[in-house]
Every structure is written in C-alpha cells, then in structure tokens.
C-alpha cells in the first residue's frame, strides 16, 4: 500500500505516523528504562523530584557490581549451554519426526500428527508439579540436565509441527528422482530434503533457542542452588532478595540478560519471523 491517491500529508500524519510513533514508544520504552536506570547513580535513582527520563551523572557502577559481585556471568554460561543443548536435541528429534510425518505413510501416522499437535498446545504450567517428581525420580533435580531434557517437551512438538509444514513445500519428485538413481530412503532424506529444508530448520532452531533462553517456570522449579541457575531465574530470585531492591543492578541484569538474545535475533530476523508465523499456520 503506497501513499494513496488523494491522501493529504495531514491525514497521513494522523492515521499513520502518529499511531506508529506511539506504538513504537509504548513497545520500546521499557528497554530505554532498563538502560537509563542501569546507568543512573543511586542519588538520582531514588529522587522523586528530578525528571526521571534522563541521566545527569551516568555511572557504570551497577554494571560493574552485576559482573563482579553476582553470579551473573555464571548464569549466562548456564543459560547458553542449556539453550544450545536443548535446541540441538529438539532439532534432531523434530527434524526426524517432521520428515516422517510429512513424507512417509505408515500405520498410525495421522494419530502421531495429532499427538504432536496436542502436545504443541500443552502449556508447561499444566505439568510442572508432576514433572518435578519425575525429575526427582531421575535424580536430576538441581542439574542442568533437568532443563536440557525437559525443554524439548515444548520445543520438539513446535519444531516437528513447523518442519512438517516446511518439508511439505519441497517437491516430492526431487526425492523420487534420487531414489530412482539408487539412493536409499535415508539418503534421500539427508541429501535432498534436509539441505533444501535448511531455512526451515534454521527457523526452528532460532526460535527454539530463544524459547529456551527465556524459559522460566521449569528453571525456577527444578533448580535451587544459585550456581546452577539460568539468567531469568537468577536475576529474579537472587537479585531481588530482601526488602530493598537494588534497582540499578537489577535493571543491569535485565538489560544484559536481554542483549544476547536480541543480538542473536538481529542476525536471523527473517528466519525468526518465518518460524513464528509458520508455527501458527502449520
């Protein structure tokens, strides 16, 4: 939709530029607020008089405090490892299941598709209490493996569902030609469908990685010792202790917990978006 015929600048200002600007301000202000709070000295932070939107004496002391006096770097490392491992597991299982459900017909394949869809819509909040018992039975409480193994419960159905849709768009004929040339079914999959499906696999991977990075409930319930925590749980539970909150350090934690994932996202915007919309459309 280009600027339409007969549309005056004033009208465009009212129906387009101003609303868009207001949306941008509303959606991005909390991030500005994280940043500005994290560089304000305490005497500016806890003074209700002066205009809070600017900083007059910027300081990095909250950042230094975050990296030196808290376990933040440890949490960041934990989060990175857990997100990477659970994404890898989910992609492996999701690619195989997505391929089987989109390309092969076997007894029960339709029911498996429905099972994947149902589990895709099961929220973690429904299962976390019994799942905690399962994790305890497996002696995995307080271990990163508790998260690496449980995150795939929502990542695998998602990836399989997304990739099912993606693999269906790859012409079947390509595979049939390869099989005529003597390739086994497995070779047709690994040499034809998977390389062509790379964009879809990348979408599923990026999306899974951000979901694991952001996961909160399982990490809150299954992990208890401060050294083992992930960023979201560490910042909320370890930095918010007591009655007095140190907002400078807290906002620095929120900021530096968000930057890595925003950084990863910035390289894969298109893949992320196609993962997001593809997962909905199926």
């Amino acid at each position: 939709m280009e600027a339409r015929v007969g549309e005056t600048f004033r009208k465009r200002l009212i129906v387009f530029y101003i609303p868009l600007f207001l949306f941008l301000v509303a959606l991005l202000f909390p991030f500005y607020w994280m940043l500005i709070t994290s560089v304000k000295p305490d005497f500016e932070l806890y003074n209700a008089r002066n205009a809070p939107f600017f900083v007059w004496h910027p300081t990095l002391s909250h950042w230094v405090q975050l990296f030196q006096n808290t376990l933040f770097t440890r949490w960041a490392w934990n989060t990175l490892c857990i997100a990477t491992a659970s994404t890898a597991i989910s992609l492996f299982a999701g690619v195989l299941a997505g391929y089987a459900l989109s390309r092969l017909t076997f007894p029960g394949s339709t029911s498996f598709g429905i099972i994947i869809f149902i589990t895709y819509l099961v929220p973690p909040t429904l299962l976390f209490i019994p799942l905690a018992s399962v994790i305890a039975e497996l002696h995995l409480l307080d271990s990163p493996w508790a998260l690496i193994l449980t995150y795939p419960t929502f990542l695998v159905p998602f990836s399989a569902w997304l990739l099912m849709g993606y693999f269906k768009t790859i012409p079947r004929e390509l595979e049939e030609c390869a099989r005529i040339d003597g390739a086994t079914r497995l070779q047709a999959m690994t040499k034809i469908v998977l390389p062509l499906g790379m964009p879809g696999i990348l979408s599923a991977g990026i999306f899974s990685f951000t979901l694991s990075w952001n996961e909160f409930l399982y990490a809150l319930v299954f992990i208890s010792s401060p050294q083992q925590k992930t960023i979201p749980v560490g910042v909320v539970s370890e930095l918010m202790k007591g009655d007095v909150f140190y907002w400078g350090a807290l906002m620095a934690g929120a900021l530096f917990g968000s930057i890595p994932i925003a950084f990863v996202y910035s390289f894969f915007v298109e893949h992320y978006v196609s993962g997001m919309t593809g997962a909905v459309k199926g």
Partner: protein, 331 residues
C-alpha cells in the same frame, strides 16, 4: 536431477552415481527401506520424549491430584477430596474468575491493537524492515526480565508513570491557576483492581508484536487488486478493512487468537514477577495459584489439582482447533 527412463527400468538400484564404498552401507540399512519401519524409527526420539516427559507426568499429575501428597511424605489416595476442598474455597473461585477475565481482556486487547499495528506496518516507508524487526523486541526478550522493568515502572514511590501523571496534573494546575490538591497516582501493584489492570497491560504489551507480525503475514497475502477494486467502487478505508481485509485474514487470525488464548490462559511469568498473586490473592491465575500451593507450600496434591483444572478448558480449545484445521484443510 532427472533420471533417464532407461536406467530406471533396467537397473533401478545400481545406477553409476553410487560408489562401491556406499553399497554395503545401503545393504546393512535395507530394512530402513520399508516405509513403515523408517517412519517408526524416525518418530522414536520424539515419541520417547513425549511419553517420558509429557504423557507419564500427565498421568502422574492425575494421580497426585487424587492424593494428599506433601513434599517428602508418602501419598495416600483421598479420592476427589482435593477438588471438593478447592471448590469450597473462595480463593480458588476468585482465581478461576481472574484467569478468565485476564485471558479474555488480554486476548481482545492484543488482537485489536495487534491488528491496528499490522495495518500500520503494512505500509511501505523507509526503514520499515528495521521498524518491523524492532517492534518484536518485547516478544523476544525474556518475559521476567522485561517484567522487572515494569515492576520498577510501577514502583510505589518512584513510578515513572505517576511522575508523568503528576507532571500533567501540576501543569494543568499551573495553566488553570487552580489547586487540585496533592496528586498521589494509582498504586499500580498495591491495589487489587490496579494490579489486575497492570498484569493485563504487561501481558498485552508482550503479546502485541506476535499478533502484529502474524497478522502482517496474513495482510501480505491479500491481493492489492482487491483494494484497487474497492477504490473504484468508492469504498472508504474502513469499509475496505471490514469487507476485504478481515474476511481474507480470518483463517490466520483465528489460529493466532486461539494459540494466544492458550498461552495467555496458562500464563505464569507476568504474574509471578509483578504481583506473586497479590495483593490479597487478587491477581492469582490458575498457574500461579498451583505454584503457590504445590511449590511454595509443598502441598503437591492440591497444586496438581489446581493445575489439572486448566485441562478441560485447554482440551476444549485444542479439540475445536483440530476440527477447525481439518475443516480448513478439506476446503
């Protein structure tokens, strides 16, 4: 990639493209040539995971909800007593009502505002790709971390919103040369009604980008000729929206709304960070109440019962979605 018909007829399995090194490997895995066998093999990792970490916990949850299980104590079967106990509790019904109200308000707000934003984002201006990428930030960043920023913005003493409102208040006083008295501002997280408003606002803030980008994907499939035809017939912008845009993106919109409904209904993070269910349990959702009972108080049986109470609602939605998708497919 086209195989010649001859080679297909004569020697389908031994065309020259395969080297001799690969041949034994092919024989070894020949049972994988069976479509059904390969299908089951490929499904195994996913199914194993679903059985161990979804199906088994689900049945365990049903069992727990029928017991008086406390942390580190053996469980005794007590029938439906957890449920009858809950049904007599005012906090429980308050929580159910909160969950319904929260889910409904937040989903409607997200759908309306997301649609509006999608229409804005569908125009072509400079930097539009950049703008589209940036507005997704609330959806990408960990919810509890952005939630912390909101807690700080809602702070009882240093709320930036109240600072802005007070500034407006005082400026109006100054302009009208009047005295309205001292402006206190809402206690965002301290007052039950405002706390509910606040969690709905934060959930909406986080969800708008998802709606906007999904709707935008739908908008981009609408052929522009239809709008040109509308222009020729003299339709206003609003008429074009209702009679062209809405019917065409309805299929996507329905799926997005249902998907968001499920996620909002089961929300935990926003409430946990902003209010922990308070003040006076006025903002508990089923998920946070289940956590409160099961994890914070160690009453696993009752906690499991509350979490399980979400299931009938979700099952209805999933069933409806399955039937709807199937109908769409057959059309």
């Amino acid at each position: 990639m086209k195989a010649s018909p001859q080679s297909a007829v004569t020697t389908p399995r031994s065309s020259g493209t395969l080297t001799s090194v690969e041949a034994p490997a092919r024989q070894r895995s020949s049972w994988l040539e069976n479509e059904a066998v390969l299908g089951y093999v490929l499904m195994t990792p996913a199914l194993l995971l679903i059985v161990v970490f979804i199906a088994y916990p689900f049945s365990l949850g049903v069992w727990l909800s029928l017991t008086d299980k406390l942390v580190s104590r053996p469980a005794h079967f007590i029938g439906l007593r957890n449920f009858t106990h809950l049904f007599e509790s005012q906090i429980f019904w308050g929580t159910v009502w909160n969950t319904i109200f929260f889910t409904f308000s937040a989903t409607v707000l997200k759908a309306v505002l997301g649609m509006w934003l999608a229409v804005l984002l569908n125009r072509k201006i400079h930097f539009m790709r950049f703008i589209r990428a940036t507005i997704l930030l609330p959806f990408i960043v960990p919810t509890v971390l952005s939630g912390l920023a909101w807690v700080w913005m809602f702070d009882a003493t240093f709320s930036v919103f109240n600072w802005g409102l007070r500034w407006l208040w005082q400026t109006t006083e100054w302009l009208l040369n009047a005295d309205f008295g001292y402006f206190r501002g809402p206690r965002w997280l301290g007052d039950p009604a405002w706390a509910m408003f606040s969690i709905i606002m934060v959930n909406t803030w986080r969800g708008i980008p998802f709606f906007a980008i999904s709707f935008l994907a739908g908008l981009q499939t609408v052929p522009t000729e239809l709008y040109d035809a509308g222009d020729i017939d003299g339709a206003t912008g609003w008429q074009k929206f209702w009679h062209i845009t809405v019917p065409l993106i309805k299929p996507i919109a329905v799926v997005v709304i249902v998907f968001s409904f499920v996620v909002t209904f089961a929300d935990f993070q926003v409430v946990y960070v902003l209010t922990r269910g308070g003040p006076h349990n006025s903002t508990h959702l089923l998920a946070t109440f289940a956590y409160q009972l099961g994890m914070a108080s160690g009453n696993l049986g009752e906690g499991a019962a509350v979490a399980l109470f979400m299931f009938p609602f979700l099952a209805l939605v999933i069933l409806w979605q399955l039937l709807y998708l199937r109908k769409e497919d057959s059309q």
